[in-house]
C-alpha cells in the first residue's frame, strides 16, 4: 500500500452550512483536498446547533439526540453529532465577512486557493461582496461553485429551500408513500442534501480536471433540485415517452413479490424480494412448503403480483414467528434478497459494517471520542491518512490566518479585539 493523498495540491475555501455544502467539502477533504471552512462568530454553521441565547430559552431540546449523552453541555456548538460528522479534516476559521477587515483576510485566502464552495442563499454573496466577479479579480483561475435550492437563474432562483423541501420540488417525495397517494403518511426527507453534496463534489472534480488541461477556472451554478430530478430518470422518461405519471407502489415492486413484514418482537420487520419462479420455489421450501404455497393463484409471477394482498398475509403469518435476523439469514442462505429492517443500534453493531472497517473512531476536543461513518470508497493501493476531527469554532484561526493568508500576529490580534474572529458564538 502506498501512503498519500489524491488531491494533495487542491485548496478549497468553504463558506457553507447545514448538510449539503459541508458534506460536499467533506467529500473533497476525504479525497485529500485541504478544506478551509469559514464561519463567523456572528453566524456559525447552523448545524452546530443553537447559540447561547437559544440555549437559555430551551429551544434546543428537540435536538438533544444529536448531543453527547442526549444533553446539552458546555460548548455545545462543538458537540453536535451532525456537524461533527460533516466536517472532518477541515481547518476551521471564523471571519466576519460583514466587516472590511474580515473580507480582506478572506480575499487573501481566496488568492491562494483553487476552489470556492458555497451554499449560501441567493443574494448573500452579493451582500457580502464575495461574488464570482469579485473573487475572480483576486484569483483568475478560481473554480467558484454556488449551490442553491433552485439554481441561480429562472423564476424560483431566489426562493428559500431546504433539503426536505427540494425532496418535494424534485418529485422524490411524491414517489414515496404507502401506494395510496397519502402524502401525510411520510416525513420530509433531507436526502436531497446528500445528492446536492455529491453533485457539487463531482462538479468541482470535473472543473479541476478541466483546469489542469486548459489552465482556466469557471463558475458553476449547482441547484439542489436538478441533480435530485436526475435520480428519478426512469419516472421522468415514462412521462416524456408515455405521458404516464408514475405513483409510488409503497414497498411493492412492478415485477417482484416484495414487501416489508412484521417479525417477532416490538416494531421488528423484515423485507423480502422474490423475483423469479425459482426464487419462489426456494422461498416456499424455506418456509416448510405449506399447503397454501401450492395454490394455483401463486404459481406464476403474474399470479403472485395479482394476489399480493392475500399472499402478504400468508407470508407475514410465517415471519411473525421468527426474529428479523432469523428470516434474513434463512432466506439469504437460499439466495433470496431479504433484510432485517435495522434501527440505529442494530446498524451500529452490524458485523458486516464492522468487518469492512467502515467506521471511524475520532476524538473531538469537546465532544469526546465517537464513532462515525467512514469514507464512502475504499482504495486498494493507497492508504489514506486518518481523518482528523471536525473543527471547533475558530479552532484554526491562528494557523490559517498566519500560515495560509500570511497575516502577522499583530494583525490577527487586531481581528480578535475587533470581534472579526473568535472561538465563542456571539448570539
Amino acid at each position: 500500500m502506498r501512503k498519500g493523498l489524491l488531491l494533495s495540491n487542491v485548496r478549497v475555501v468553504e463558506v457553507a452550512e447545514g448538510w449539503a455544502g459541508p458534506l460536499a467539502g467533506l467529500l473533497l477533504a476525504d479525497l485529500g483536498a485541504e478544506v478551509i471552512k469559514v464561519e463567523s462568530i456572528n453566524r456559525m454553521d447552523m448545524e452546530r446547533g443553537p447559540g447561547a441565547s437559544a440555549i437559555q430559552t430551551g429551544e434546543t431540546s428537540l435536538f438533544y439526540p444529536s448531543y453527547p449523552g442526549g444533553t446539552l453541555g458546555e460548548k455545545s456548538w462543538n458537540c453536535n453529532a451532525y456537524f461533527n460528522a460533516c466536517n472532518f479534516s477541515k481547518y476551521g476559521v471564523t471571519l466576519d465577512l460583514t466587516k472590511s477587515k474580515g473580507l480582506q483576510a478572506f480575499m487573501r485566502l481566496v488568492k491562494v486557493s483553487d476552489v470556492f464552495l458555497s451554499n449560501m442563499a441567493a443574494g448573500v454573496d452579493e451582500k457580502l461582496g464575495i461574488t464570482y466577479e469579485a473573487l475572480v479579480k483576486v484569483n483568475p483561475q478560481i473554480i467558484y461553485l454556488t449551490a442553491t435550492g433552485y439554481g441561480r437563474t429562472g423564476p424560483y432562483s431566489k426562493r428559500v429551500a431546504m433539503g426536505s423541501t427540494i425532496d418535494a420540488a424534485a418529485g422524490l417525495f411524491g414517489l414515496r408513500d404507502y401506494g395510496d397517494g397519502d402524502g401525510t403518511a411520510v416525513t420530509s426527507d433531507p436526502h436531497a442534501d446528500s445528492i446536492s453534496a455529491e453533485t457539487c463534489a463531482f462538479a468541482i472534480l470535473a472543473a479541476l480536471y478541466y483546469r489542469k488541461k486548459m489552465g482556466k477556472g469557471m463558475f458553476i451554478d449547482a441547484s439542489m433540485v436538478e441533480p435530485s430530478m436526475s435520480h428519478i430518470g426512469e419516472a421522468i422518461m415514462d412521462y416524456t415517452m408515455n405521458h404516464r405519471i408514475q405513483r409510488s407502489l409503497g414497498n411493492r415492486d412492478m415485477s417482484m413479490t416484495q414487501g416489508c413484514y412484521r417479525c417477532k418482537g416490538e416494531d421488528e420487520w423484515v423485507t423480502i424480494s422474490i423475483s423469479s419462479d425459482e426464487e419462489w420455489q426456494r422461498f416456499t421450501e424455506v418456509i416448510g412448503s405449506p399447503a397454501w404455497a401450492r395454490d394455483e393463484r401463486f404459481a406464476s409471477v403474474l399470479g403472485r403480483l395479482k394476489n399480493q394482498d392475500e399472499l402478504d398475509k400468508l407470508i407475514e403469518a410465517w415471519t411473525i414467528h421468527h426474529t428479523k435476523y432469523e428470516v434474513m439469514n434463512l432466506l439469504q442462505q437460499a439466495n433470496i434478497a431479504a433484510a432485517a429492517v435495522l434501527n440505529n443500534a442494530d446498524v451500529y453493531s452490524d458485523p458486516h459494517i464492522r468487518e469492512r472497517g467502515f467506521l471511524d473512531v475520532i476524538e473531538d476536543p469537546d465532544a469526546g471520542v465517537h464513532t462515525y461513518p467512514g469514507r464512502l470508497w475504499k482504495l486498494g493501493e493507497t492508504e489514506m491518512p486518518k481523518r482528523s476531527h471536525s473543527p471547533c469554532l475558530g479552532e484554526h484561526n491562528e494557523y490559517v490566518l498566519k500560515k495560509i493568508a500570511g497575516l502577522t500576529s499583530d494583525e490577527i490580534l487586531e481581528l480578535e479585539q475587533e470581534g472579526v474572529i473568535g472561538t465563542t458564538p456571539v448570539v
Partner: protein, 404 residues
Amino acid sequence: MKGEQALTGLKVLDVTHYIAGPFCTKLLADYGADVIKVEKPGEGDGSRRMGPFLDDVPDPEKSGLFLYLNTNKRGITLNLKTETGVKIFKYLVKESDVLVENFSPRVMPGLGLDYQTLKKVKPQLVMTSISNFGQTGPYRDWKATEITLFALCGQMHKIGDPDREPLKHALSIYQYFAGEIASLATVAVAMRSANTGNGECIDVSILETMLGDIDTMINTYDYSGDKGTRTTAKNYPVYPWGGFPVKDGYVSIQGVGGGERWMPRLFTMIGKPELKDDPRFSTPQNRVKYRDEFNVLLYSWLIDHTKQEVFDEAAKVRYPIAPVYNTEDLVNNPHYQERGYFVEIEHPRAGKLNYPGAPFKMSEAGLAIRRPAPLLGQHNREVYCELLGYSEHDLSILRRCGVT
C-alpha cells in the same frame, strides 16, 4: 479547443449494467469522457428489459431507463465468457484510463479480470467496482434489491407512519446515489494516476454510501443512544414538518427547528401574523404540544390554495415550503424549462424525446449531448476495427464464433 468539455480526454471502459454503474459512467460521458460500453451479445444491459418502454411495447432499444442512463456512450458487444472475449477485453483495457464495473464481486475474478491481473496489462489503470455490499465482508455475496439495502442501512426503520410498517424510499434513488459517489472518486483517482502513473482500484459499497448519507444513524446512536423512530407530520418532534394536504395535492413544509426567526413568516403567510404572540405557538415545544390546534389553522388555510399557490405565497414571506410535484409537474414546470433542464435527444429507434439534462451548469465545458444511447453493438466496427485494428473479416468471424 472547440467542443472541449470538462472530462474530454478521459478514456473509460464500461462493463456496467442496470443503474448504479451506468449512472456513474453516464456522468463521466455527459461531461465529456469517451466511454465505451461493453454489453453481452444478443441481450445487452439488463436495463434494456426493464422499461418503461416507449408506447409500453417491450423493445430493448426503447427502454426509457436504458436510453436515459447511457447517453453519450459508444456501445459494443463482447462475450466475456469466451477466452477470445477476455483477451479482447484486455486489449480494450490497454486503451483505457478507467474501467468501471458493477458485477457481483465474484464475477470479474471468475472471468480472470480481477484488478491484480489487469494491473499487469495496464499499470496506470483505475478500476472502479460498485457492488451492493463491497468487495469484502460477510454479506459480500448476499442478494440485494434496493429495499434490501435500504432496510440494512437503518434509514427505512425511520421512514413511514409509526403505526404502520417501515417504508421504502422512491424508486431506485440509492443506486443513482452510489453511482455518483463512484464517479467523483473515479475522477479524483484518475487525476492522480495521470500525474504519477500509479494505478488504483476503488471499492464502492452501495450500502456504505447509504450509511454515509447524512441522516446519521451511526453517530446519533453513538452520541445519545437514540435508536430512531418513524415520524410523520403527526409526531415529528418539530412542528410543522412534513407533508400537508392542499386543494390539489400536498406540500412539504420544513419546520426549521432551531430557527425562531422563521415562524412569524409562516404566521404571516396564513394571514394570522398575531399568532407570533400566542403562547400556544410561540415556542417549538408549545407548537408540538398544541399541534392539533395549530393544524386547524394551518389546514384551513392550505386547503383553500393549490400547491403552486402555497409555493408562491411561501416565497413571498421567504419560508421553506415546496409543492409535492409529480413527473408531469416537473416536465411542464416553467422554472425547470427556463433553466433548460430537460433536453431533447433524438435516438434512431425511440425518436425525439425529452430527457433529464444537466445536474449542474458550468460556465464553460459543461454537459453536452454528443450522441444518444447506443443501439446494441452499434459501435462494434468503429471500436474493433478503428481502435483495435481488426479487419471487417475478423469482425465477421468473431460474430460467428459468438464473441461479439
